[in-house]
Symmetry: D2
């Protein structure tokens, strides 16, 4: 057994299959994948990695299994899945995930070959665990898969607290120990035990507070959009998508610096000389066809905006997030003996869903010197009917604490 000191959980014990997996390259690589990608541009202390997070997930899984009285090979399988759940992340975590998925067809939790082949598979097999079933747990399959990936997974319980700890924001604070103690399996569903509607709500609220403050902070989003652009350009230079996927943050960033078509983006990121928001529009103001546009249509719109504004096509980025989701809303809680969905029990869910839709923003970003031309051009091309004053006020709102 090794014991690792963690800034969130203090001492984490790693033993059995987890100890052996710790030394495999796909797990060690996570030391070089930042948990929050470009959020570090806003919160300078947010440099924590997927490696320490994965250890935290292992730790909470271990606690949960103990409370659920799951032991033996079944528990070993879950511990393996907990430690491995993030090995499919591309560099800068979620920041490049969409690009990678479009080109490789693989999301970050589609870890198949990474688990079923190579060093990881060898370790699992040596511990009499079936690699395919571990990969299934990572995808959230089966009763215990929900513990690794689901509304009540220990992944969420770790990252909310860890991300709050490292950004310095007081908002992700949930009662981890209580959550883990109150887990129950009811008719094959992972649920919080009787008397925990408020415990479930607290998870939802932590999320609702972290989203606008940290995860969707506009400067982090601009950085992410620039990285995404960089990843696309890099693939155009001939880098294989699967190779990009297996880079770590360092490889990827240095590759951006070295390719002609991405050097300018890397240079900007290195100096935190970010694009600025030319447009920042609410959900209600964005036409349906823009919301429904696919990747290539969006790139065409970018081109049109640049053309209309008379700037280089590279100077415009259009950032249209997907529909807001709220996974936590379907959390199960036992009420009067039966497992019910939280959104059936709590008036908060709808309110938070509304809040989330209100916080949704589409952005058009460009170099600071072009906002005056790109803004109006984008409004025209996109068919936004924004009161000019409002646009201006919205921009002004964010120039204080938030704008670093």
């Amino acid at each position: 057994m090794v014991t690792i000191k963690d800034s969130v959980h203090d001492h984490i014990d790693v033993k059995g299959v987890a100890e052996a997996l710790l030394e495999t390259p796909p797990v060690q690589r996570l030391r070089r994948i930042r948990q929050l990608g470009t959020v570090q541009l806003v919160y300078p202390a947010a440099n924590h990695t997927r490696f320490e997070h994965s250890l935290g997930v292992l730790h909470l899984a271990d606690r949960a299994l103990e409370h659920l009285s799951v032991a033996g090979p079944q528990a070993e399988r879950v511990r393996a899945a907990a430690l491995l759940h993030d090995i499919g992340h591309s560099p800068y975590s979620h920041n490049t995930e969409a690009v990678v998925q479009r080109h490789t067809g693989r999301a970050h939790d589609d870890v198949g070959p990474l688990i079923t082949e190579g060093a990881v598979a060898r370790v699992l097999t040596a511990h009499d665990l079936d690699p395919d079933s571990v990969a299934g747990l990572v995808r959230g399959e089966g009763e215990l898969g929900q513990l690794v990936s689901g509304e009540l997974d220990v992944d969420r319980m770790d990252y909310l607290v860890r991300d709050a700890h490292h950004t310095g924001v007081p908002y992700g604070t949930i009662d981890q120990a209580r959550l883990v103690r109150e887990l129950a399996l009811v008719d094959g569903e992972l649920a919080l035990d009787e008397g925990n509607v408020q415990t479930a709500e607290s998870l939802l609220l932590a999320r609702a507070l972290m989203n606008p403050t940290v995860y969707n902070h506009h400067a982090a989003r601009v950085g992410k959009a620039m990285l995404r652009r960089g990843a696309e350009r890099l693939l155009e230079t001939g880098v294989a998508p699967e190779r990009l996927r297996r880079m770590d943050d360092w490889d990827f960033h240095v590759a951006l610096r070295e390719a002609d078509s991405t050097a300018a983006i890397a240079h900007r990121l290195d100096r935190r000389d970010l694009f600025k928001r030319a447009v920042w529009a609410e959900l209600a103001d964005v036409p349906e066809d823009v919301l429904g546009a696919d990747y290539h249509e969006l790139r065409n719109i970018e081109g049109e905006i640049a053309d209309h504004a008379g700037v280089d096509p590279d100077a415009v980025i259009l950032d249209v997030p997907g529909e807001p989701r709220m996974t936590e809303s379907t959390t199960k809680v036992v009420v009067n003996g039966e497992a019910r969905r939280l959104d059936r029990q709590s008036a908060l869910v709808d309110a938070l869903r509304t809040a989330q839709r209100e916080q949704w923003r589409m952005g058009v970003y460009c170099p600071e010197e072009h906002t005056g031309t790109v803004g109006p051009a984008a409004e025209t091309v996109l068919g936004l009917e924004l009161d000019a004053l409002v646009t201006d006020v919205r921009r002004r709102l964010h120039t204080r604490l938030d704008d670093f």
Copy 2:
């Protein structure tokens, strides 16, 4: 200047009028008034006092005044009010407040004579401050009075964090420093500056999480109801209401032990041998006339229940809380240049209001051995139409973590 080490704010500087007030008996008495009264019966570490809280409020007021660019005598007045804002508390803080108010006509923030006479008045006058105006600030009067008592007061900002710190609960965590920095005075109203709707919501959410977990925990409520009963009995023995009001926790508790009519209550509290819930009813199940009953009517109902159950009248306590309020809902936030009420801007306010009403409970408490007879008797007398099963399930729900 003295510098005091605090477990929440680290170093607190106390100077000027605040330093002189620190030594007055009404302020020193706060060292012996626990901040959370009977919450300590649930969270053993919640032994913090109104004294340290008052220093914390002084500290935040000081910070806020700096950001609002208020200085000179006006600032000194606010600092004085911040340090003095809780000197009107009766023993066990809010736990005996209703009793004291019924008999003396004074709520805890009705601090008139405590400020305008005696040692405090002498200190204020010596610092050229008008005691009446300081008393006004404590009542929340005037522009800067809102900083001491209002939706955005520094009182709230201190206690949410302090109460979370001392209970060990991760829920009261707000970004104090940001809240204080973002305060603005707009047309005579204290508001959060542009871009802070979510900051205001975070205050509301912290409150929503603390209410059921800490402030209204059922065991704390039972303890409080027992203390209230004790206070009433003590007044019947001839203790003057004004004397009761000026006792500290220690005086009061020892007095309960020593009077014949209250010794049994004190004995129970000393051993944490609390009454148990015979009924725990939701707002919708409680008839209007019970909700609207005054103090004497409620006492009569208690008598009827005891009679019906065939137990001693002292064995039944009826606990009907007032309508849930949500002061924070009227917080002002600047949006597009004007100060608006938060409940006009945020869908969360209504949801939290609903949640609060759903969490409201009326309780009938009695010694454990009588719950079987008092429960049905109370349902009959109160005209509750509870499905027996439901009553039973509800009781059962709370027998785990919560019930310590």
Copy 3:
């Protein structure tokens, strides 16, 4: 099993004999005994009690037993002793211990009858545990008694961290989890396992930092001396020593207020109107006969000083602490396979012992207005040869942060 939320250890599980003991009056009484007595006069947030500390000790004992692979009745006995280890404390913890011991012959860990008779004995017997052997563990007897009371006891591990947490001082921080994991029983001795000389030193250093800053802060010492005087006077009024011993802080303090001979002391403590230091002398400056004087001789010296200064005898308190001890210096650490005493392995022990002797101070305290006469009188009567300037400088040194 009950689970209790703690501000230091988060969730503490209490089960078996500990759960049953929790409800006994001697354990519940600890809710009303402050851990640090008069330290609260210096650090206003230091209001934590022996109750929460005892729960913390139980928690760490539980962890240690698990790492030492001790289970069954032997473990239950240790858990019982851990929870009960402080029930012998008189009011204000160590502040009145000397007085009580002089009159009753019992130190705080001499818990015999409290454990072997009454409710506690009944619970232990019902759980098939021998009360005498539990009382023995509390006194530190036997192999596992060292875990409850010894150089490496979990008592120390809890209070260093808890006292730091509640005072806000950053100095008592030790790696509790590591200490507990590294315990080993070697030839019947509790020791830290191989490779932990520095871990043992860290315990010593935490203690060395807490002593002058918290435990021996001069203002806390003045308060303690006043309380001790009050306790002596109270006994003279006819209060039985055994009754005094079983009071809680509240009884005791209210009793001080009510007796004629102690009302003045209580009044001063209530207002934090403490005696001041008229003399504050180093160990080297104090004559041997003063250091070796017994209780009655010291009282006679006080009388002489008062006489010499022309003040009331009640106005002078002489405070001569015992020789500095350093229990932690004999901590055992395994080095090359054998358990060695820390002071044989670490150059720090001697240095800290020297530092401790240098920090030792004898004090003569009196009301502020008499320091000018009592100081010189004390120097004459005690035969101190202090350079007047030095005395003055020493006094002046402590008028800043420390003097609150």
Copy 4:
């Protein structure tokens, strides 16, 4: 003014020249220089960077200047120096410093051209500050230079706390706020004010606890030795020393991966497949000529050891640290009105110096499979007279918590 959220100091205000400097490339580069280099191999959460540390130093400098009543251009100069003090660091901070210094003649605080030329110089000049004088402050010159670099510098105050926070170790905890408040300038010397001998000692103790646990942890040292070797090899491939100096961690690490002569080292570091200790010798056991050997002599010894053991020269690393220093020992503290050196006032200094010498270790590292041959070979070549048993025991000691 921008306000940045920090995980240690909460909100940090950056304004004036510091705000303008923030955007310069040399400061932004610090985002990609880890504070603790290879310590991350032992404490996975230690991913914090020189950037956030530099902001922390700026913050503490600001506080200190306020307490010292230094304002105007003099204060701006110090703030600039505080933010810039680490821009001279080579990749992996101290891990490559010796190599870089040998080849460029520049230590990390020799920041001359980085400050006197380019973007930084332009900003300073635009704020009417002389770049040369700012560079002087970074080197610790002049009265206020001691605040940036000296025994009582704010650099130390920030990193002790920050490194503890991010490793999760409870040992670096000092009372920052008190240290900063108690600073005084006495006859041109920066000192802690009267009454702070223990405050100064606490700084020393924090350091003494962090050294063995974090800064000199053996696995971090092995990683550092491997990086140093990598840097030397990279320079041999023709990379210019000045270019190496200005790389960030990412450039450097990717360069190691790409050069033939360093790919193996990078591969090992990427997988945390570290060399192991073949010898780990105490100061007393190491011959004088080895302690005094220069760089080339040490490399020759490495070759001899490899030759003797019959392994490839690349398989042996000899790691001989310099003599232990203890900068904090000369901290000045005001005692009886004069600034004295701490080592004249405190018995602890000598004890800690002794402890530090006892903790000193020379290491010989090699791949795990060669320890059996390299160990004895090294003992012969180096002339170590170690009892074989002791060597073995020493190795075994560290296989538990520490060895991750």
